[in-house]
């Protein structure tokens, strides 16, 4: 039987995939780096346009079980382009664009074509992941995302630390995939379906099996989003990897993990909220607390950002703790936070990438005096991450998450979050304050156009969203 495939629905994925191949080939013919970079930016922009083109007339579906093979009930499709998918694809493509801009200046010792090819492969994985609505496609997409990342982390071939980071990431990732697959097999055994939309209640004697399956799937995604206790890889890998790759891991890879988690929990296991709701609540509370407490102790800028991104994962998990109450709203809150976080965190990473040789937080002393715009931008991003005005964007993101948690009635988690925002403020503020203190040494400033545009794009985005958060929220909160 021949199935029709909606290429329009797949267009963002196809554009990125073909562009990745083209870049790899072009590198083989020794096309200059600048041309490769321009091509990559153009391809991602084109994919972004394709995402916007798909907005009218959604949802688009493809890879569906043919009508002759299924009984009554909802249409089981493996690939669905709805609001959720489009929002995440938009976030991922925009973030990838910034990551590529960050890379063009900072990765001089890396073969650009291969690098871009690997990034594009991983992006293809995420774009597919967010549209996947069956468990097999989810796993395949997750692996498409993960495999190139190992290579990306190890890209600095002669750097021992990078190699160690890659091995660590590889081992952790393989184990998490194994656990995830085991969980999926249990769920399949209990329900007899792979489509998340078709997973329903099971017989009483299968409930323990189902519960075990759900816990394992949550654990599997927990590795991806660096939730405690599956977070150990994050600081070492972030530190060892090239900085743009660390940014990629902390934003794009994490967005993929949260999308997958939201898909399986909210769509697949919506009737099992009593199983995963409390589990997520505890994970979220422990993740944000541990992340913040560890970040307090860091003196190394990248390790601080790594632990802070662990803590931020906790905030993103928190709305999902509501379980079956107001699940749609909770998912919307998580997506909104991921979107806001993507901009603020990429912004911080962009500035830090530009000042790569500055390793310790202490080295940033006086940056705002040497380079007022970059210093102000970094301070702004840090305050956004802390969620304090003038970083109103971050404050609104926090309000969204708090509201999701409070609406679901998990008040204790909201109080834990409240205490955590205070811990978080301390280290963000300590860093931001250093920027304005008198400088200690001389500094060389990065001058490249790609770097400056990466900072400018994220700063402009953060500023606009601080005045009009509605621009992003109307997309993210209209899910469901």
């Amino acid at each position: 039987m021949i199935q029709g495939i909606s290429y329009a629905a797949l267009s963002p994925v196809l554009i990125v995939a073909l562009a990745g191949l083209a870049l790899l080939l072009a590198d083989a013919f020794e096309v200059p780096r600048r041309v490769l970079g321009t091509g990559a930016v153009a391809a991602l922009a084109a994919a972004l346009v394709a995402v916007f083109a798909l907005v009218p007339g959604r949802p688009h579906v493809t890879f569906c079980v043919p009508a002759s093979l299924r009984g009554a009930g909802p249409l089981p499709c493996s690939y669905i382009v709805d609001n959720f998918t489009l929002t995440f694809q938009g976030i991922v493509l925009a973030s990838a664009l910034v990551v590529v801009l960050m890379s063009l200046d900072s990765l001089d010792d890396v073969p650009m074509g291969e690098y871009l090819f690997l990034v594009f492969c991983a992006v293809v994985g995420v774009l597919t992941l967010v549209a996947a609505r069956d468990l097999i496609l989810l796993v395949v997409a997750l692996e498409t995302l993960s495999l190139p990342v190992f290579a990306l982390v190890a890209l600095k071939r002669y750097d021992g630390r990078a190699t160690e980071a890659a091995i660590k990431l590889f081992l952790v990732s393989v184990i998490s995939t194994a656990i995830l697959l085991f969980g999926i097999s249990l769920v399949y055994g209990a329900t007899g379906t792979m489509h998340v939309g078709l997973i329903g209640p099971v017989a009483a004697d299968l409930k323990p099996v189902m519960a075990a399956g759900i816990v394992m799937i949550v654990a599997g995604f927990g590795f991806k989003v660096a939730a405690v206790p599956f977070h150990f890889w994050a600081p070492d890998v972030y530190q060892g990897a090239p900085l743009p790759v660390a940014a990629f891991l902390s934003v794009i890879s994490k967005a993929g993990g949260f999308a997958g988690l939201a898909i399986v929990l909210a769509l697949g296991f919506s009737s099992y909220g009593h199983v995963w709701g409390p589990l997520i609540a505890v994970l979220a509370a422990v993740t944000m607390t541990a992340g913040n407490l560890m970040a307090l102790r860091q003196t190394h800028a990248i390790r601080l950002l790594a632990w802070s991104s662990v803590a931020q994962s906790g905030y993103m998990l928190a709305p999902l703790a509501v379980g079956s109450h107001h699940t749609t709203q909770a998912v919307a809150a998580t997506v909104a936070y991921v979107a806001f976080y993507a901009i603020m965190n990429l912004g911080a990473f962009a500035v830090v990438t530009g000042f790569g040789p500055r390793v310790l937080v202490e080295d940033y002393r006086g940056l705002a005096r040497v380079s007022p715009w970059h210093g102000a931008a970094l301070a702004f991003f840090l305050l956004c991450l802390a969620g304090l005005p003038p970083g109103i964007m971050g404050l609104v993101a926090k309000i969204v998450v708090f509201e999701g948690v409070v609406t679901g009635g998990v008040t204790w988690l909201a109080v834990v979050m409240a205490i955590n925002t205070v811990i978080g403020l301390y280290y963000y503020l300590a860093w931001a304050v250093r920027l304005f203190q008198p400088a200690t040494g001389s500094v060389s400033l990065p001058q490249g156009l790609p770097f400056r545009s990466a900072v400018a794009v994220t700063a402009a985005g953060a500023t606009v969203l601080s005045v009009e958060p509605q621009l992003l929220l109307q997309a993210t909160l209209s899910l469901g």
């Binding site: 005005p389 609104v396 958060p469």
Partner: protein, 487 residues
Amino acid sequence: MMLILLLLIPLVGAAVLAFLPGRIRYGLYVSGLTLLAFAVLACVFDYDRTERMQQDVDWSWIPALDIRFHLGVDGISLPLVGLTVLLTFLCFVYLGRHPDKHPRMLTVLLLVLEVGMIGTFLAQDLLLFFVFFEVVLIPMYALIAVWGGPERRHAAYKFILYTLLGSALLLVGLLILGVNAGTFDMVALAAGHGTGLSHTVQVTAFLLIGLGLAVKAPMWPLHTWLPDAHTEAPTVGSVLLAGVLLKMGTYGFVRVALPALPSGAETWAPYLGFLAVIGIIYGSLACLAQTDLKRMIAYSSVGHMGFVLLGIATLTPVGVNAALFGNIAHGLITGLLFFLAGSIKERYGTGSLEGIGAGMLARQPHLAAVLTFACVASLGLPGLAGFWGEMLALVGAYRPGAGLPRETFVTYMVVAALGAVLTAAYFLRLLSRITHGRRVEVAEVADVRPLEWVAWTPLIVLTVLVGLWPKALLDLTDAPVRALMGG
């Protein structure tokens, strides 16, 4: 539109200054313009309908979260906004004589601070209120951390971490209130008087909101950030911190917590009153033990805000009116006291009573006279502003709201009255050690300078006026308070 203008003038002023080389004088003009805008607002304000929200601005801001840009002014907000713009303006006047490092940054921060303070008193949407509540944190932090005394970094961190913890809990409480009531509109919430909110929800929400506001107010035992912050902050920081920022906490009680959560308030009021009374006694006793002028005034704030909180805890119109009156009186008098403390510290190079020495009346008669005036006003001399707020709070405690244990509150009243006596004791002790006594010769120091007169005279005049005609202020707040309290 007047209200938008009131926020826009300092905001645009700050934004423009970020790109221009500027001086304190620029801030003087901008805050003067804001003061002018307030004067116009005070003229067009309808004094016969003080309980109504006037000059309403209600724009959609973040519809996805149901956050509206909703501003309004009534008889409760008007005096507080007036206090804010006046004190900010006087701070710039004062700074004109005291050139400091980084004048441009100082001006920007003060103007942003002004936006946050005005916005808090005008906001009529719970989350907008919260956003403005947060806006003041970073500027005040920077004021303390950059222009403060030797222990400034520690004090600044203590200030921001404490108050952020408060406001994070406040956010949770506000969300519980708003989500369960189905609206974030403060006017609708106040009109609803807690209808549709279960007792449990009200108790939880009042606890969280109350904790958040109590840190700001500050209420004993959450006050420990205050003495450090005040001691280390520069003069203008102390003035605005004591004069306006503390009021944001008590204002929140009156505007949000009491009207929207009446049954939660009833549950917690005896505890609130208890802690308020402890604050009064504790503040007075702590003052007796202080050797530093600024630290002593800071602790006296804990005591005075205790009276304000006691007034709120009575849940009666009399008590709440007393609280709002006490807010304004404390803003005027303590603002003046911190100006004086700053000037004295600058002249003598030290804030310790020992270092200043006795006999100031002989050395600098004018400065000592103003200090004496501020002290007796602060200790609650009848005829000056400080008296009415404390007296009415005691009257309110004598007849607390229905449903509150009367014996308990009468006990509070007696203890608080003792606290008022203690207040007199430490201020008189202060005066006897500084202004009176045998003249100690110190290096030549100037008496009150012209610019200082300009900055202080409005506060002195208002303290006398409000003290002699308390009715003017009470008439303004009484109708809205009765409307908020439901009758």
